[in-house]
């Protein structure tokens, strides 16, 4: 449960605002971090903390692209393919990335490690092509650099995946 496990963080979130409801986005991030994605139970937990109906948490989660109500890979790769990036090869980069991972647009690799998605402008047009991996920016990318990153992440993930029994 978030309330027990992250009591300090939750208190800090609520301390920022005169109205609890303002904390809903921070709490959704927290729940997503804790559970990997926003399950219905996670939404209920957040709603309970904020004192709103779970429907409202569901609504907020659905409005924003950085909340996921579906399972995602351990690494969530979001590639900007908006115009400024596309002018510098983002579409090609994205296509090659999908091909390298062997997934369709929006897909997740069979090992559950990587989910790839296109996203709208990330305010890094001067460093295109770029993507965010679990919300951290990777910029000035080439497909080679991306491949290197992916292999690094694969290695990083390995011991953990085995412990989790491949989950």
């Amino acid at each position: 449960m978030l309330a027990e496990k992250h009591a300090d963080r939750i208190n800090k979130i609520f301390a920022k605002y005169p109205d609890k409801r303002s904390g809903v986005m921070d709490l959704l991030y927290l729940a997503q971090e804790e559970y990997g994605w926003l399950t219905e139970d996670a939404l209920r937990e957040v709603a309970d903390l904020v004192d709103i109906d779970p429907t409202q948490a569901h609504s907020i989660a659905g409005f924003y692209t950085m909340f996921s109500e579906k399972p995602k890979g351990k690494y969530w790769l979001q590639v900007c393919t908006d115009l400024p990036c596309a002018l510098r090869g983002a579409d090609t980069f994205y296509r090659e990335l999908c091909a390298y991972l062997g997934v369709e647009d929006g897909g997740t690799t069979d090992d559950g490690l990587f989910t790839v998605e296109q996203v709208m402008c990330l305010a890094a047009c001067d460093r295109a092509p770029m993507m965010q991996c679990n919300f951290h920016f990777h910029e000035h990318l080439t497909i080679e650099a991306a491949k290197e990153l992916i292999e690094k992440l694969r290695v990083q993930a390995q011991p953990e995946t085995q412990e989790d029994g491949g989950a």
């Binding site: 921070d26 991030y29 402008c121 047009c125």
Partner: protein
Amino acid sequence: MIHILLRDLEIPDIWQFDTYTANGGYDGLKKAVHDLSPAETIQIVMDSNLRGRGGAGFSTGRKWSFIPKDAETTYVVVNADESEPGTFKDRQLLEKNPHQVIEGAMLAAYAIQAAAVYVYCRGEFWDLAHALEDRIEEARQANLVGDDILGTGWDCDVHVHLGAGAYICGEESALLNSLQGLLGQPRVRPPFPAQMGGGLYYQPTVVNNVETLANVPWIIVNGADAYKKIGTPESPGTKIFCVSGHVAKPGNYEIPLGLTFRELIYDHAGGILNGKRLKAILPSGASGPVLKATDEVLDAPLTYESVAALGSTLGSASFILMDEDTDMVWAAAKMIHFFKDESCGKCTPCREGTYWLDKIYARLLRGEGTAHDLEMLEKVPNQIAGVTLCALGDFAVNPVLATLEHFRDEYEQYIHQPEFGPEPAQAL
């Protein structure tokens, strides 16, 4: 070259509290709280003729002066939801010169005696936002933020609020809803944020862009007159131009308003990538009309007024450059797809209109476009423009209407000779 904002170019460590203060940082705030009344602070900013850098170009001082004097609780909200394609200036400011933004925000807060400052960072600025919290903590430790600021008895804390991926939250009333934990959809206005009932928690609120606020410490320290000596009388000060796309040196360029397009693109940004010819310019990201790169355009000065005279808008000064090989129908399709994805869905014309336009562009790019589609590209934008709840609808029609105006032949080619069109873009 004066850098009022991108001071990291001269002082790379200015993001550090000690470096910032060693270089005059927080002098503006100290001056204001010790020597100026809130009203005097507003007056200086008003006299400086600083105009909002978020796109609309409204007088910052006037905006502050709208806060009712008898308001019990007021807020300052820093709009750091920088999401316009081609815009990345606020990110650099927050990353490289964050204390100046904090100081600017605190000056705004002092001017309206705000109860708190909220910095609404777009969610994708995840790392940046967390670093910003550390910077705020430094200021808090130095008694520049928080309780009893500089011993004056004035309390005002600064908090970072993370968005989560929604362009519409850059629209100030949607941003306020989002900050309140509501759906990030725009509100009916009036009441405007500065008015009772229109702001954060329905209290009078100043919402300012990051770059706007970053100007304020300099103005308070150096005075309105000094500021007005930079740039043009109507648009004083420097402006950060974000240059991206087919450009040799993409990046942010802080220059006084009034230089020409040509100077910005060729002198500062190194010209066009691979020495190609410049075909089209989007001077304010995806939301302003595209300009054909004629000599007339290239020799025009970069001011709000002259860009408007050319039929576009300077907006947030996000220059997306496109070279001679760029397929303008494809570019318009990209932008329409963006707006369709980012339409919040609240009002009918934007929700349905962007969906419709996106369908038409998808068909064009598949080589299945018809003369009827072209007719619709002329008709549908006019059904959207001017009747939507917020400006997103008006923005969304610009890529269509402006590309049709300047590059109609490319559309004709898609319809009549689709075999000569480029590879369909997978993004669509």
